[in-house]
């Protein structure tokens, strides 16, 4: 792996850990990898600490971008990619592990819905509401 790939892995694992910590803090049970908040907090700390320890084990990785280092703009793009992948992984994985959660929840306010249900359920419910609204507004009436 080159430094860019290792950086992406650091960000991905670190973000997964932070998402678990944040979900445990805010009580977003539908975003926890397991139903237990304490277990998810421990997993979150382990992921963040482990990723940082692994990446910086041999020092600060102080390389110029002309000699194998990562330029500022590339760091930004890799970080954004890492966040996107971590969100995707967390939402998909936790939607599978929490599949039995409640389905009759108000999902219109966004993230708070994840206190009761999973991400995939909240998103599909919101999308289906928009789809129904679109059909109602564009329905063609017959003049008879």
């Amino acid at each position: 792996m080159n430094l860019g790939q290792e950086y992406l892995l650091l960000v991905f694992v670190g973000c997964c850990g932070v998402l678990q910590l944040a979900a445990a803090f805010g009580g977003l049970k539908g975003m926890l990898i397991a139903g237990d908040r304490r277990f998810s907090t421990a997993v979150g700390l382990l992921l963040v600490g482990g990723a940082l320890t692994w990446f910086f084990w041999e020092g600060g990785r102080n390389l110029p971008d002309t000699g194998g280092g990562i330029a500022g703009a590339a760091q930004f793009y890799l970080f954004m990619l890492g966040i996107f992948l971590a969100l995707l992984f967390t939402f998909l994985f936790t939607s599978l592990t929490n599949v039995g959660r409640k389905t009759s929840v108000d999902t219109s306010d966004g993230l708070p819905a994840l206190k009761e249900t999973t991400y995939m359920h909240a998103l599909t419910r919101n999308l289906s509401m928009v789809w129904k609204l679109y059909h109602r507004l564009t329905r063609k009436f017959s003049s008879g």
Partner: protein, 196 residues
């Protein structure tokens, strides 16, 4: 101006002169000064703030703070780039025979771009959450100090970087207020997609 520059150089040489006194401290600085450690930790903190809240009011405040920090980082970086086009200051290692704990960068010494970015993040967060913002300011201070100690910047470059970072967030605040209701609309879209 000459006198200020001389004092700046004297303070730099005094701080940088401590290299080699403690191998453990140098080792710690070698980590802290990295292009990755402090920026990654601060960015992870922003991500955490976006998702971590206990009530609606706290959620709104945190997410607007993260938005402010993000736009502030962009504006601060643009201001640093613009400054580099009209003003170039040589690095300390160009003028003095010094010990270094970092690679020798080739861009302008003033203002310190990495410090501007971290201070912009800290300022955005401070507007939303004083305690976490203060912790991030402390991280920015340590980061700036490590860069001077490692021989990469003069103290005035770090101070300049911090001012650029804070000014970037100030401008971002005005900009986001000016383009309202776009930020609110962006939050609503994010809420519809269940990511806010």
């Amino acid at each position: 101006m000459e006198a200020i520059s001389q004092v700046d150089s004297q303070v730099f040489l005094w701080i940088n002169g401590w290299i080699g006194t403690s191998a453990t401290f140098d080792r710690v600085i070698h980590w802290v000064v990295s292009d990755y450690l402090v920026p990654v930790v601060c960015s992870l903190t922003l991500l955490g703030l976006w998702f971590a809240w206990r009530n609606g009011e706290m959620r709104e405040r945190h997410q607007r703070g993260v938005m402010l920090a993000g736009v502030g980082v962009g504006l601060a970086s643009a201001m640093v780039k613009a400054s580099n086009l009209v003003f170039f200051r040589h690095r300390p290692f160009d003028s003095y025979e010094i010990e270094m704990l970092f690679y020798p960068p080739t861009d302008s010494s003033f203002p310190a771009n990495p410090v501007a970015v971290v201070v912009a993040m800290a300022t955005g967060v401070w507007m939303a959450n004083r305690r976490i913002g203060a912790a991030m300011y402390a991280a920015a201070f340590v980061y700036g100090f490590s860069r001077v100690y490692a021989g990469v910047f003069y103290p005035l470059d770090v101070l300049g970087g911090a001012l650029f970072g804070a000014a970037g967030v100030g401008l971002a605040y005005l900009l986001l207020r000016r383009i309202e209701p776009l930020p609110t609309l962006a939050l609503r879209v994010a809420r519809f997609l269940c990511v806010a």
